[in-house]
């Protein structure tokens, strides 16, 4: 059976592509590839179509960085949310976690990561210039910094606070409802709502 020979042919190619996904090692990639081989054709093609569709349609919102099929995204397009607080998060999945708590009615700004000198990520690699521009244009009443409670998230929060305060806008940081070293993504809606309510000026 030549298709299963590791690292060669069509099978090896899929394994190689799957391994690019964070958290997927050789074993998992091979398991998924075997599963795909056994799938009925229409289900396997539906999977590849879904990937193609996703890449063709979903783009970062030009305003906030949220992933969306429309541009600007639904949240930025919602006039009700305009001029209120602006919530700054590291990644889109953090935005979704806050959205699902239902405790926030303003707009978001996705930085695309957090400061990390070890990985060579300085402020210039994050969407901070865009944030400053938005604050000047949209004049939000408050900036809520909701970066993760990790060393990187805290450093990013402090950097933003020092940078944004001179603009005359109120800057707050979400409360430590989220466990230290944890990830917003994994906080339950109730914890998230409490963290948002308990925010403090920085």
């Amino acid at each position: 059976m030549t298709i299963a020979r590791k690292g060669t042919g069509a099978f090896g190619r899929l394994v190689k592509e799957l391994k690019r996904i964070p958290g997927i090692g050789t074993k998992s990639a091979e398991r998924i590839a075997f599963h795909v081989v056994k799938l009925p054709d229409e289900l396997a093609f539906a999977l590849s179509d879904a990937i193609r569709h996703l890449k063709e349609r979903v783009r970062p919102c030009a305003v906030c960085g949220n992933l969306s099929e429309s541009n600007p995204c639904e949240i930025c397009a919602d006039e009700q949310r305009r001029g209120r607080a602006l919530c700054v998060v590291e990644e889109t999945n953090d935005l979704w976690a806050i959205e699902s708590s239902g405790a926030f009615a303003g707009r978001y700004h996705v930085l695309g990561g957090a400061l990390s000198p070890l990985d060579g990520v300085g402020p210039e690699r994050l969407r901070i210039g865009e944030l400053v521009q938005r604050i000047q244009e949209e004049a939000p009443e408050e900036i809520i910094v909701a970066t993760n409670p990790t060393a990187e998230g805290e450093a990013t929060a402090h950097y933003l606070a020092c940078l944004l305060r001179p603009l005359g806008v109120r800057v707050t940081r979400i409360a430590r409802g989220v466990p230290m070293g944890g990830d917003l993504e994994y906080a339950d809606p109730v914890t998230m709502a409490k963290a948002l309510q308990g925010r403090a000026d920085v």
Partner: protein
């Protein structure tokens, strides 16, 4: 806590050994190279999952064999736990009561040991990192949250150092580099304060216990003083978190230029040390080997005393080559103190060290991989 039985298979020079132990002091006597220390090493292996002689477990397999196994029944307040550690090239399997452990951390901690061997003398004369590790290891055992706190600190330290390294090699505008550093100072200080708060708490108790125990060992001739030497500058004996924060802030501000040019964080728990002063003089440079041994012993016994106070648990005491460089008075005092552990395993080259005191002990003669119990 005590080891009720110990079995070795293809471990070092023991092809097959099965021993039962009561509580009290167990003294292994034999010439050098006969395998006395290997017995302590086996017990230690079950407690830490590694050798105290800094060897990879696969190096402990008997020559010509591929697999070794050490098992023991450990008793703690009437509860028995079976520990088994099997290892060889490319294999490490640990079981607790026949249940395989997925991680080493599930295995360590069932048996608490305090070891005292020649390697430990470096604790006084070696680099500060050894003393920090000694203190940190005690804190890990006493406060389960310290592991997370220490990891959090080392992560933010690595980040801050990476930034400083970058700033030391590039010529970015100084206002900008100041803002970059400011951003990391706050999480750095917060993480450092969390480490230091527990360090100071445990250190204060350790220092008290060490001084009292050292007095008992040395017979009150030399006074021992221990102090925590903080890189952030002198502090009171029990600083509050605010005081710790304040001294870190001040020291970081004062040394910022130096940090930027050297590309490393120079102030914090990773730069602290324990100062050990005997009769008014720095022990590292002035104490004799016998005195150093007495101090290290006091440190180790103090470690046991802290376990007892915090967890109401007495670790098993392991003492390698008890008599070397100890005079008769000190050896006798040591045996008195040993009796105060539930159980102690001790090696010596001759049974002359067996004191005339009332400690319950059992002597074994060790010769080329066989262990014989003496009446």
């Amino acid at each position: 806590m005590n080891v009720a039985s110990l079995s070795l298979r293809a471990f070092r020079n023991y092809r097959r050994l099965d021993l039962d132990f009561a509580t009290g002091v167990h003294l292994f006597v034999g010439a050098n190279g006969q395998g006395k220390t290997n017995l302590l090493e086996a017990v230690y292996l079950l407690s830490a999952g590694s050798s105290f002689r800094a060897m990879r477990p696969e190096c402990l397999v008997q020559h010509g064999e591929s697999l070794a196994e050490v098992t023991a029944m450990v008793s703690e307040q009437g509860q028995d736990t079976q520990l088994a550690f099997r290892f060889g090239r490319g294999l490490r399997a640990a079981r607790v009561d026949e249940t395989p452990c997925r991680r080493l951390s599930d295995f360590v901690g069932h048996l608490s040991c305090v070891i005292f061997s020649a390697e430990d003398l470096a604790l006084i004369s070696g680099p500060p990192a050894l003393r920090r590790r000694f203190l940190d290891r005690i804190i890990f055992g006493l406060h389960s949250e310290y592991l997370g706190i220490a990891r959090g600190f080392s992560q933010v330290l690595r980040q801050r150092n990476a930034l400083l390294r970058k700033l030391s090699t590039t010529t970015s505008p100084s206002a900008e580099s100041e803002a970059f550093l400011d951003a990391w100072d706050e999480p750095y200080i917060a993480a450092a304060v969390r480490v230091l708060a527990l360090r100071w708490e445990v250190f204060a108790r350790l220092a008290d216990a060490v001084c009292a125990l050292h007095e008992q060992i040395s017979g009150d001739v030399d006074s021992l003083r221990l102090s925590y030497r903080a890189s952030a500058g002198a502090a009171s004996s029990a600083p509050t978190e605010d005081a710790l924060r304040g001294s870190l802030e001040t020291a970081l501000r004062r040394r910022r230029a130096e940090e930027k040019s050297r590309g490393a964080t120079l102030v914090g728990p990773h730069r602290d040390d324990l100062a050990i002063v005997l009769a008014g003089r720095e022990a590292a440079s002035h104490a004799s080997r016998g005195q150093i041994k007495g101090i290290v012993l006091a440190l180790k016994l103090a470690e046991m005393e802290l376990y007892r106070r915090y967890h109401d648990r007495r670790p098993v005491l392991l003492v390698d080559d008890v008599a070397a460089e100890f005079d008769r008075t000190r050896s006798e005092r040591l045996f008195e103190l040993m009796a105060w552990a539930d159980q102690a395993f001790v090696t010596a080259t001759s049974d002359e060290v067996v004191p005339r005191i009332g400690a319950r002990y059992q002597v074994y003669h060790v010769e080329s991989g066989s262990v014989e119990r003496r009446a």
